[in-house]
């Protein structure tokens, strides 16, 4: 499907307002919502992946070294990862810092 400019004309609206671009919500960056961001201390991280499992946005991913980080385009700063991290390797810091 070719990219249409938003907002669409009545002729452009997909029939039934169907959306044929699965996962297109990622075009909307919810990162602007947060007041705090998670910072990983890889010295403490035991690479268990609990932060990855518990993220409601699914924005915590494993990098090539097996450590984890949040995609700041989507991280809403809810703090679940920091709260659940067993070795307390994640700290929530204010956005301004």
């Amino acid at each position: 499907m070719t990219e249409k400019k938003w907002p669409e004309t009545w002729q452009e609206v997909n029939p039934g307002c169907m959306v044929f671009r699965p996962g297109s919500a990622k075009e909307y960056h919810t990162g602007s919502w947060r007041a705090k961001r998670p910072i990983w201390d890889n010295a403490k991280c035991i690479k268990c992946g609990v932060c990855y499992i518990y993220c409601p946005e699914g924005c915590v991913t494993e990098n090539a070294d097996g450590f984890f980080e949040a995609n700041l385009d989507y991280c809403k700063g809810c703090g679940i990862c920091a709260h659940e991290c067993w070795p307390v390797a994640i700290k929530m810091v204010n956005e301004e810092e």
């Binding site: 307002c17 671009r21 919500a25 075009e27 919810t30 992946g49 609990v50 809403k76 809810c78 929530m92």
Partner: protein
């Protein structure tokens, strides 16, 4: 090992429950959705979809998850998905199941099993959606229904539902000067589903993600109706902090308030061990603003009820251990 008492701050007991590395990295419910920070339901949906895999069609009732995930012209779903209205997720899902079945049988679509899964909140399942759920389950469609229970009509503004617990404050049963919140006990939907002879009924919560995903996988295999009641935290509606989302689900289990069990053909089995000395219900209630008006006497009333419900469930679990099968399988 009961880490609940040993490590009160970092309560991840039973580490072998956690094998996140084994979980598929594919995301079927992507970030960019508009759920609140710390939404337990969004997390639960993300995990459920990982367990279901790509050969699934989701039917979604009107509610938070539908609204935050499908703002035209984008969608957070990486799976075929349909939303029609509020009370009919189970009915639409049963139609999806019948359609897929007929088309596959007639060779009009690929010859492989695509599971119909209908989802809704406690409103869309236990109240307005109750009739459709009952009908779909009793007709034995090959469909999984997952109820995401955050104990009120959250999307419309935290109004009272039949899933709202006793004395919780909601916007239509508020803790006022005369009446201190919801005046009746929570409706037990899993029991109602067991009474419908649903082959597989389970309770779950994203706080125990592997347990939840295993249950979803199991339900998917069932060639008939299955039901999962998923307890999810709503920080906005419960007036709790976003980061305690997972902890509250854990406390719900450790107090015996929301035990995790499954019922297969009438046999009850706990799937996550509850500490022998259950935590006092006060530990669960105190982190939530919707309970902040409770007096010690009221908390005691709740504690007694939790104890009774827990003991009742344990009787069923014990009874199930001693019998091969409590009721004849109602198969399709």
């Amino acid at each position: 090992m009961n880490t609940a008492t040993k490590n009160p701050k970092n309560v991840i007991e039973n580490f072998d429950l956690y094998a996140p590395k084994l979980v598929s990295k594919e995301e079927f419910f992507v970030g960019g959705h508009r759920a609140c920070q710390g939404c337990g339901e969004a997390l639960a949906i993300r995990l459920m979809c990982k367990a279901l895999g790509k050969d699934t069609v989701i039917t979604n009732a009107t509610g938070c998850m539908e609204v935050i995930s499908s703002l035209y012209p984008t969608t957070a779903w990486n799976l075929p998905w349909i939303h029609v209205a509020f009370p009919n997720a189970a009915a639409v899902g049963s139609g999806v199941e019948a359609g897929l079945k007929a088309l596959r049988r007639k060779g009009k679509i690929a010859d492989r099993r695509v599971k119909s899964v209908a989802i809704g909140g406690d409103g869309g399942t236990m109240d307005i959606g109750f009739q459709a759920l009952s009908g779909a389950m009793e007709r034995c469609h090959d469909m999984l229904y997952v109820c995401f229970d955050n104990e009120a009509y959250m999307n419309t503004g935290i109004q009272r539902s039949s899933g709202t617990p006793f004395l919780a404050s909601t916007t239509t049963a508020p803790a006022g000067k005369k009446i201190p919140g919801n005046q009746v006990w929570k409706k037990n939907l899993p029991e109602i589903m067991v009474a419908h002879n649903v082959a597989y009924v389970a309770t779950a919560t994203p706080s125990y993600p592997i347990d939840f995903m295993n249950k979803v996988k199991k339900a998917r295999q069932i060639k008939g109706p299955s039901y999962i009641h998923c307890f999810v935290t709503c920080p906005t509606g419960w007036r709790s902090t976003s980061e305690t989302c997972i902890k509250l689900g854990r406390l719900a289990l450790e107090t015996g308030l929301f035990p995790l069990y499954e019922v297969e053909d009438g046999k009850y089995r706990l799937t996550v061990e509850v500490p022998e000395k259950r935590r006092p219900i006060q530990d669960y209630l105190k982190g939530q603003g919707r309970f902040r008006h409770l007096t010690p006497d009221q908390i005691q009333v709740i504690q007694e009820r939790v104890d009774i419900e827990w003991e009742t469930l344990m009787i069923k679990v014990e009874h199930s251990r001693s019998k091969e099968s409590l009721r004849a399988r109602r198969s399709r």
